[in-house]
Symmetry: D2
Subunit: 334 residues, 4 copies
């Protein structure tokens, strides 16, 4: 951490900051420029961000040097984290395709979709098991029947399954049926939920919040990691910007950037990022070319009769086309 004193700071001001830092156990180092004095903290024991430095006269700017996360950083562990669930490997050579409907609607629906996406090469089945879409007028209750259907569709087809959990008290129920827990973008900073997921033994697919920086995403991953669960999969799913042709702006630079900053696998959700099914094929290809370890795609066998609006849903023929176009890109990856 570096403290920049403003141009008018006196020697006394500098002295007081140093005394405060020393008193709290931090060693310091002074660098005198011609227009600014800079105080460095050597060896950041404890958390210097908790020192109330802005309360001191003459402090202009405080600049962190170290990153606010550790265990999930590439510096801490240089080798890629590879997550193995049964026969499926995430973060390895092969990019993994996760596919399925927005919402689980019926046995026929989820089984049909599972069979189709499995036969086309998907390895994991997705689907939300909530009773109804989020609405101000109904509680977001989990429907155990839907969870069962998802698990059965997975068993039947040999697909792993992933489904969303929205609060800590839902973890036990979801745990009975899922292979991977999904944390939605809105819950990326639901720290109570993250902590509890840190205590289970299953992988967590952690979606980036729509206005979260990469640093904040990694801090959220650190919450899970620090409790002992090292199976975290990061997911870029679009950030909120002024552009409104797309639902959000898919930040694909996040893929190589997260790979530089962290050892965790990174997947991409082009469906919710763009909110337009016509953009899903090109952005899926771009994600794989950028180095993503996988994709999570919304697919439906009969979107015209589904319960979601279909804006970003691929039909089976489009998903078939996607898988065909992805194949050579996935091969280039190896």
């Amino acid at each position: 951490m570096i403290i920049v004193m403003n141009g008018k700071a006196s020697e006394d001001d500098v002295e007081k900051v140093i005394q405060k830092l020393n008193k709290m156990g931090h060693k310091t180092h002074i660098s005198r420029g011609e227009e600014r004095i800079v105080i460095g903290i050597i060896g950041e024991i404890g958390n210097p961000s908790l020192v109330p430095l802005y309360a001191f006269e003459g402090v202009e700017k405080i600049i962190p040097i170290l990153k606010p996360y550790k265990l999930v950083s590439r510096e801490f562990k240089s080798k890629d984290t590879v997550i193995k669930i049964k026969e499926v490997i995430i973060g390895g050579k092969e990019a993994v395709i996760i596919a399925g409907p927005s919402i689980i609607e019926s046995k026929k629906q989820i089984f049909d979709i599972a069979l189709q996406v499995k036969s086309l090469g998907a390895k994991i089945l997705r689907g939300s098991a909530f009773k109804s879409p989020a609405s101000p007028y109904k509680l977001p209750e989990l429907d155990e029947k839907k969870l069962k259907l998802l698990a059965q569709a997975g068993d039947k087809t040999g697909l792993l399954v992933v489904t969303e959990v929205m609060s800590a008290d839902q973890i036990d129920l979801v745990d009975k049926y899922t292979d991977i827990f999904q944390v939605g973008a809105k819950n990326m900073q639901n720290f109570v939920l993250l902590k509890e997921l840190g205590r289970i033994k299953k992988p967590v697919l952690l979606k980036r919040g729509i206005s979260a920086t990469l640093e904040e995403l990694l801090i959220s991953a650190e919450y899970i990691f620090s409790q002992g669960n090292h199976q975290v999969i990061l997911c870029e799913r679009g950030i909120r910007t002024f552009e409104n042709y797309t639902l959000n702006t898919l930040d694909l630079s996040a893929v190589p950037a997260l790979k530089i900053l962290s050892h965790l696998p990174v997947i991409v959700d082009p469906s919710h990022a763009t909110g337009r099914w016509k953009l899903v094929i090109p952005m899926s290809k771009a994600a794989i070319a950028a180095g993503a370890d996988g994709l999570i795609i919304e697919v439906h066998t009969d979107p015209a009769n589904s319960l979601s609006d279909g804006t970003q849903t691929l039909k089976i023929d489009t998903f078939t086309q996607l898988m065909k176009e992805l194949k050579p890109l996935i091969q280039l990856r190896n």
Copy 2:
């Protein structure tokens, strides 16, 4: 809701959309322009957003006409909602000042601050009762001792108190001590928490998420409202933009805009919005001038020895100055 068919849509495409809508119970109305055909849905019974229209050929754009919230809208209730807690009125003629430290640290700290801010005109005491600041390495646990201190400081001084709740399972504990529940920006879309707060009988101070639109803030308020709790106080606390001189960008237009869209009271948090104590006085004044029903301000009697970094904390002398400068503005309001 209006469905715009693209320039190449056939009569058959139009027909299929209309049939689907009719089948789901929606009446329609067609308007034929020279370059586009527009289908209107008359009387939006049920939720037309759940019709999977993008799965149909020829659909270019779907434009909602009605707002996605109802109970909290000005249209539903034209009179301002006024919230009365003991002797304090929020949303009435007088602007209400909420003040206090970031974190409750000790009996002396919270009592000192309470006495000072009370004597300077604050009506409500704020303070977080968590054991430690949010960190990846410790659970965000509530500290009942801190809650007690807060309640005692309130009793002693005659101030109401407000404190944050981060998950539904903390509601009962917090309820024993607080007058007002605060939902932080990170939890604005924690729908489980919102729903549960909808079932209690105390006011909820709902902070806007840093990337939430006004519409989304009002939808979150609707979650609480629809469960029966009509005492919701909206709080603008800065949104995330590219500007980085300030921590966030205080969106003061939100104050009159929310007053047009909704009947709920609106307060402003200039401390966390700007992240710079030097900006707190001018932005507090601006907020009142813009029509805010109150302010929530971070104040500490001894910031140099506090547990937060002090970036946005007012010392007592600055808070005194603020209250003095606010006085004529608050009078103009009446």
Copy 3:
């Protein structure tokens, strides 16, 4: 400027960076933390930002310490810049109101508006003198007749006038008629135009670009200033964010922030920032309470028959109301 070397940088890497800096004339200072080595540049002669440091091994981050502008900074000149044009003072005790139509349409229109806003207390008349609104199909040509009408309306009423200039070759023509040159948000980084305006002897009202940081606005002001024209008026007019209820997000924190960073006067344009006439009164009041030196407001005597869409235009009765409500706020300022 501070160069942070990454955790794996060798002594040799550090040495090479220092040699490069020394060779280019910069003195350095090393600070060795436990996990990072930090190199400071002492006395930033020349422009160290032009040293290609990222081309060197081991460089993790380069952090500027000094600001990228000088002449317009508060540090360079601590006293407020006060601009006096005839009897009007901008940046002094009194807040100045600039008002007028979007586009000059006819003699009757501009004279009517001028008389009305003058009688209600405005000091400066605004109006665009372009032949037609910006459109892909017609060149944005200045209409000298409109410029003349503006100047005449100013003369007749005793109002100063301000009008926009869009390129360097329009300066001479505009100079014949205007008291103040306006640079629109889209031209904030039209450096050729800024430089040329730096060579004239009239004040320049410089609007912030919709995605410009405060730092960039001040750099643009520095372009004008460094050529010798010290009469620059900064104007906050809203930035582009994800919020879409308002046209842009009025960043009122910019007012006190610019006052801290710079000695230049700061005015606010609530009309174009919000794009909604209903928000103009509250945001005007908020701007003055935040410390703005003036306002620029779109007003029309007959908006239903004007050439612009009227979204943000005040009618005379609303402008009358605005001036009445502003009065006590402007008095508080003194």
Copy 4:
């Protein structure tokens, strides 16, 4: 265009809006919902956006149905625009690589780089011919010697050249030396410059402004197009968001989105978008996979002794690696 009347609008309010529209030559069509009356304008002759509808009572919202550009739209011309300059084809089967330094520094520098990038497969040489980088203290003057060197390096190697033009009065000079004019992001809405470029007979590479929507980029292209120059190349180069690990956020969805909306070729600048050379390879690959017609890349043979900071500059070995990794992706494209 659709006009939504608010819930309280009277029949009289509706009538007045219709009369105004009729008077201005627009035919209308009314659609009565249960809670809203919607007025549609049939056949948008003239420009209905110029009708001052917000000045009328009862108008809640005005929603455009048609796009604000025409000639550059896919609807107007369904076939891809292919630009052929000598032997180079932009917008055809093959993706085109543009490479070169940030600034032209010397004959040796530009010739060395030209030879290297040519031998590695680039087709076009880029380089800025300004005397010095943009700075508040020096005018952005073109250096004709640099323009000559660029043209000579192009001739010698058989590369086409592209260089930036910053104002209309520089067009003639640049025209003597360049094959393609580049309009920088800061000038995307310099309408005077765009119009003049619409009158020349050479291709224009138009960069998206850092806070421009796709719609605004296409409107800017329409400015050039409508003057008669149909050779416009769109360039995505990153938009400004809150994320700060990258310089800007590369919006790759813009590539397929622009291909849907327009017939113009689209290239990508991963260097300035990310501002980090380590991200240039993955984002270049992603851009091609997303369907980009080409890339513009910053390359230097000796970045440690260049005049720019090297943050995003590829060295020759990295550019070699890039071209190797791009090859199979470019082949997949055909």
